[in-house]
Amino acid sequence: MTAESASPEEFERLAMPLFDALYNFARWLARDQSEAEDLVQETFAKALRGFASFEPGTDFRAWMFRILRNTFLTSRTGLRAKMTVPLEPEDEESKAVNWETPEALALASATRQALQFALEQLPVAYREVILLCDVEEMKYQEIAEVLAIPIGTVMSRIARGRKLLRQMLAGERAERSIPAATARGKLDQV
């Protein structure tokens, strides 16, 4: 990048519109307000320092999210999260998703609150990929750039993340609907 096009003004012009999205993502990752604020602050400082190395014409949004996410991974919460996520069976995959079970509908009909709770409980490796795909509406290729993983892994993590969410929410719903099921059972006996 030329010295002129890598100016701080140019950086601001490109980066500030992403501010809210980056903060939202940081907050979901860190799950703590002041930590998220520090993350965003550090991300902007790092990005500005490294702006000269940003290649114009490439994906600036992916670049910013990558810096934020790497900053998170080296933070205390990030390190802890990395340690506690079990290695996922990436390829074993949800080959046979049974789309006919109520599980498939559990997510679509969940309340916003229940969804947010489930998303919070999701291991960070799945949480981040769901956020980038469904909230930031990034393409698989862009997500692969942010996370520095192959596109196949992006796909399997998205599928598995959604599956985990469905299971969590279906489980919750099943618990809630037990009395109804019992009632139906009784009716059947009559």
Binding site: V40, R49, V97, W99, C133, M155
Partner: protein, 262 residues
């Protein structure tokens, strides 16, 4: 392709990541297969439910200004300092003062706003609230959410953000330029807050739906007691409030431009 094969491609379909030929093929398949159609629909709804749930956090109002201030200080420091290895520490020190300076500037501006609001005695209450909006926006490091001098960018930006539309005048040949816009709230009602630049001054134009809460005097209004000038009128069910630290004639000139446009 069988249903089983399609169902393994469902995620790719709803994420619009299948090759175009497969996207079309799936649509044709789903037209005849209710199971696959229902599964795709559930997944599409899932995606939009997640999108809504995921947009959860908004930054504290001052965070943007804080981040911007330290980025600017950092940029300034980098320009001033030659690139040596000891630079980072110095930058860190330099980061400290602009934050304080900015906070002080914001306080002064806010105090001005409060003073103005507190001394608006004979005026209806709502004008003071607009003054607060004006001053608070200008005190922020990012006064506008959509930065553009192009009315064809600013106007569409408001679509879906406010419950009405409005027209903007062509400013070419006038002394005004459009600096941008943001959504403002007045009694929980969203409206447009446009900021126009005139020489080195900024003029706020507020556009809200005309509701009974907006009980403001109809007549042009100029306030000699303060450095602010105001102009307000209703037009097409919308209430316009212009406000800025320029003279009354300038405000009137901008008001004329906006009124002609409607």
């Amino acid at each position: 392709m069988s249903c089983m094969e399609w169902q393994n491609r469902l995620e790719g379909y709803v994420d619009a990541e299948l090759p175009p030929s497969e996207m079309t093929a799936f649509r044709e398949h789903a037209a005849h297969c209710s199971d696959c159609a229902a599964a795709a629909l559930a997944l599409i709804e899932t995606k939009s439910a997640l999108r809504r749930a995921g947009h959860r956090y908004t930054p504290a109002p001052d965070l943007r200004a804080r981040v911007l201030a330290s980025a600017r200080a950092q940029a300034k420091a980098t320009r001033v300092e030659s690139a040596d290895f000891g630079q980072q520490k110095k930058t860190a020190k330099l980061l400290m003062w602009p934050r304080g300076a900015l906070a002080a500037a914001a306080l002064v501006l806010l105090a001005t706003g409060l003073f103005f609001a507190a001394n608006r005695y004979p005026r209806p209450k709502s004008l003071g609230e607009f003054a607060d909006l004006h001053v608070t926006a200008l005190a922020s490091a990012n006064p506008v959410e959509v930065v553009s001098t192009d009315r064809h960018t600013v106007k569409p930006w408001f679509q879906g953000r406010i419950p009405f539309t409005f027209d903007l005048p062509e400013l070419q040949g006038s002394p005004f330029t459009l600096a941008g816009g943001r959504v403002a709230y007045f009694h929980q009602e969203p409206g447009a807050h446009l900021i126009f630049a005139y020489q080195r001054h900024f003029i706020s134009a507020f556009i809200f739906r005309d509701t009974p809460q907006l009980a403001i005097a109809q007549a042009p209004f100029s306030d000699r007691g303060s450095s602010f000038n105001l102009q307000t009128w209703t037009q097409g069910g919308l209430r316009y409030v212009l406000m800025g630290d320029v003279n009354a004639a300038t405000i009137q000139q901008l008001a004329d431009l906006l009124q002609r446009r409607q």
